[in-house]
């Protein structure tokens, strides 16, 4: 039976551990394709077109927006960043799955463009722990620390827009939960019901 892939959208305050969970999960899971973003910023050192990013001029990027070619995009300081719709949806259609690690604003845009996406929110075990993790990185002034902390709390209030949440206390448990969500979503009846009935009907 031919199955489509799934599109997973992962958000959560920085410091919650999204990146680590995703990296660990993908180690033992090879039906995932990486989505390559489009950006208007200049390539750095060893960055390769089509591998790290698709590099575009601002004019080209704005045309892509006008042509509705993004699942989501954002302007960060002076540059645009976006997730190309066609490449991601084609991969999903072929049976590959894709994980997008994006913030709440991006997730809302993806939901509008692809409501079948599976939305996962990663939480720190507590706000105290989040603060410790951010301080632990040692790269923050009091001011930016306060800012990041407020923005983290603000982000958590959007959790109800998501399907699943994982409280990232013990990494191993979080990876187990993440893998379970991926596997469970493969077992969803909704997307496959016609295929299933066809499969058992044909043999009758």
């Amino acid at each position: 039976m031919r199955r489509k892939g799934n599109l997973f959208i992962v958000s959560g305050p920085s410091g919650a551990g999204k990146g680590t969970i995703i990296k660990e999960t993908l180690k033992s899971n090879d039906d995932f394709k990486v989505s390559v973003s489009v950006t208007t910023r200049m390539p750095r050192n060893a960055e390769v077109e089509g591998v790290n990013y698709f590099f575009k001029t601002e004019k080209e990027f704005l045309e892509m927006i006008a042509e509705d070619k993004f699942l989501e995009y954002a302007k960060v300081y002076d540059h645009y960043y976006g997730t190309p719709k066609e490449a991601v949806l084609e991969a999903v259609e072929r049976g590959d799955s894709v994980i997008l690690e994006i913030d709440f604003q991006g997730a809302v845009q993806v939901k509008r463009n692809y409501p079948e996406g599976i939305f996962i929110f990663i939480l720190p075990p507590s706000m105290v722990e989040l603060k410790n993790r951010i301080i632990g990185r040692g790269s923050e002034t009091d001011e930016t620390l306060k800012k990041r902390f407020l923005s983290a709390f603000n982000e958590i209030s959007y959790i109800e827009k998501y399907d699943y949440y994982i409280i990232n206390d013990v990494l191993e448990d979080s990876v187990y939960s993440f893998k379970s969500i991926i596997e469970a979503e493969k077992c969803r009846v909704m997307a496959d019901v016609k295929e299933i009935l066809k499969m058992y009907k044909e043999e009758e």
Copy 2:
């Protein structure tokens, strides 16, 4: 954070392997409570009241129906069998989970009484394989074989009422899928959103 348990309803044609998957899953999972059914049939040999069944007279059973005390019930030949609502929902409320292995008619009743239930359908790898498994048991005449086979096919056509499906080809894979569904459902935002927000709010 206090979480409620989940109620899982498992159906599928006989011979698909429901019972084995459930048994294997429960071996390594101890937050499940067994639901004890109510019946009007007589206790056999070593059966113990409240362990194997709750034994009731037909009059008592009919009163329980009238008082809406069942999640589902059915009359099989001369006897009634039912799943008591209160015990199951209390366990779920306390944080335990419960698995009910029941047929489609029962599942429909549970859905009406407890729409938050999680409905899982177990399929044989193919109808040919199902036939082989039923024949393998060696206890069937041609006539009953044909009957069971038709009823299996009929049952599969109700799959769209279920949330998840598992094609039971390799038992180990099916158990992995089943465990994944159980774990993923623990990560559902919907039931816990108020608790989550409270948890992070209180610490602010």
